[in-house]
Subunit: 382 residues, 2 copies
């Protein structure tokens, strides 16, 4: 049910948010461009910009020489250096922490490897990195990307048991972090690519993220599909092979038992783990190693199988392959396309594009920072 | 990217639309209730109601005796008798046409059986029924529900070839129908149940509709998931059984090859087709017929299998079984629940409810009428 129309105060808030979001998402823009894009008149844009400047959120400056006659329009840009969030990415075998300025600029970054599957000492390295990167200006909080199911309500992560990661991080740094938000890594990569990457301007997008597990960040009609409790996108537990292997979730033949890191490495006879091991298999395949080629093709077939299902279900315009699946996809694109051709409905497969991420490994951090920017963009002067 | 805030004129339009949508979706409401629900003051509600009354869209009347002291609040209700749309449901073996008043009231209804798979003579019976039911007042147009893929852009239906059904129906009745909209039957059943049925108030819903084919109407975060071209929800072509039967789409082991009407009837040794044949099998199973029991259990297992996949992908709060699947689900709920328990992730299956439709066979008509009401609800005085 749609609510009634907004009050004057809400309108001002909406316009301030819309202007700030434009320069945050699209980079610096002239007042003239903002006037056109927002459909507001010049004096309103001037007043809104003045309010945001006074709040220290944007700055205005004369543009470089344009070579055109007349007074040039002032250029508005976000104060990336002094308004920032922390972004944390908890990955299978490393932790990364960045300080990200308004506008999505990574200002500083740290990382540490972590033993697989351990959650006991997650919090203190995160807190140490954040303290270590403290900057001048205004900190909006932190966003955390995790490869696990995140409960919407309170940010508790299902990761070898329930982990209240948002609360634990905030407790370590109560004075520094006004808020801590948590999201699933695939959701946040999708958000990042949709905000400022390969999916900018696309309203129907599936970002398939893989490492040991597989999940998807789904955008339908321009909005993230997160589900009732926040657990949407667990495509890794779509059963694709009823006579397949047992999955860690208790079911059998889940998509991640065919396209995750482990089956690829096992089929390729690798004793290593992690992204570097996946890249080594892909490299062996490129150099003609028959075992590696066969492993990559097997995974590519199942990758295409699951993608075809998702394309039939969602009718997206774009599918993005991230994590270890980026390189697996590139090495097995023929298999993926062939499955899509045989299983995808003509009308849905016709317009879908398959792509790799534009933001690379930074997508999770940029998406996590977006979580912490949301409140400011909703109400810039709150 | 969010647009800037609305102008005064847009605000009035939004408020008029919000008020009209309330009485349309929830039935008659007192001015006092509207004041509370819309968060607007009494004089604004009075002015909006006066505008809508003058336009012939709502009427106000004194309520029945309340037994309470003080002047009772006037009751506002939609002018269902004089503001209406036509709703058409093109089903596998029948065509139904209704005249549906604002507020979702079915005022009149006609139906005719149709030979399976023929599209040649779809248009003229629809036009005849519509002409036959012409009423006094204002006709907003027609909405058509079809069991086929509908191209968003122009309402062309993939149904044994491309059928421009919206254009063809409009051409027959140019003076009567200001607009003709088309939607997939599963999408429209979901819309109807979400607007005024079992899914009212639920933001994450999957309506699985089955007859010969299987499709889903999906609502995520309160919005319909229709996909890039309008083809979203083709869950019947999610492959569940890679070693299964050939599907009409060219793929193999699609969900509809396991849970559609045909496999059930074949397994049960029935020579009939259609809903009545499905009901006969379910009835035989209830009376202890071993062949029918085994057929129903087989379909129930695969029904649960696919539902578990969808629950993992979408994390819905509600799954609704419509069309022939309503009775198949009721007869095999144990199988469905057992598959969901073994394949669904704990966090996602925990809160999901499985239900049958509240609107029964009228859901497609009520959803189709909603399509034709949308423009009025967006801008009541246009």
């Amino acid at each position: 049910m749609r609510a009634s129309a907004p009050s004057q105060e809400e309108i001002r808030r909406q316009n301030l948010g819309a202007l700030l979001r434009f320069v945050h998402e699209r980079g610096q823009m002239s007042r003239a461009e903002l006037t056109t894009e927002l459909g507001l008149n010049r004096s309103t844009i001037g007043a809104l910009t003045a309010d945001l400047t006074e709040a220290g959120l944007v700055t205005e400056e004369a543009p470089r020489e344009t070579g055109r006659a007349g007074r040039p329009s002032l250029v508005v840009r976000a104060m990336s250096e002094t308004v920032y969030s922390y972004a944390v990415s908890v990955e299978v075998d490393q932790i990364r922490v960045a300080r990200v300025g308004l506008g999505g600029v990574i200002l500083d970054q740290r990382s540490a490897s972590r033993p697989r599957g351990e959650t006991s000492d997650l919090i203190s390295p995160i807190a140490t990195f954040i303290r270590d990167m403290t900057g001048a200006g205004r900190c909006l909080g932190a966003g955390i990307a995790v490869a696990g199911m995140v409960r919407h309500e309170d940010g508790v992560v299902h990761l070898h048991g329930d982990l209240p990661i948002a609360t634990l991080v905030r407790e370590q740094l109560p004075d520094l972090l006004p808020q801590v938000k948590v999201g699933n890594v695939a959701d946040l990569c999708a958000l990042a690519e949709h905000t400022r990457g390969v999916a900018a301007g696309c309203d129907n997008v599936i970002y398939v993220y893989g490492d040991v597990g597989v999940g998807a960040g789904i955008i339908a009609g321009g909005r993230r599909v997160t589900g009732h409790g926040g657990y949407g996108g667990e495509v890794g537990h779509m059963v694709v092979n009823p006579s397949g292997r047992r999955c860690s979730c208790g079911s059998k033949g889940c998509w991640e038992t065919e396209i995750g890191e482990l089956p690829l490495l096992e089929l390729a006879g690798s004793n290593e783990t992690g992204l570097s091991a996946v890249l080594a298999v892909v490299d062996r395949a490129a150099r003609g190693d028959a075992v590696a080629i066969s492993a990559v093709r097997h995974v590519g077939d199942w990758l295409g199988f699951g993608v075809a299902n998702l394309v039939n279900i969602f009718n997206p315009e774009l599918v993005i392959f991230g994590g270890t699946l980026r390189d697996v996809y590139l090495a097995s694109a023929a298999q993926v396309r062939s499955k899509l051709a045989s299983m995808g409905l003509a009308a849905t497969r016709e317009h879908v594009r398959l792509r790799t991420p534009a933001l690379g490994v930074d997508a999770a951090l940029i998406g996590a920072a977006e979580l912490a920017f949301q409140a400011l963009l909703e109400d810039p002067l709150a």
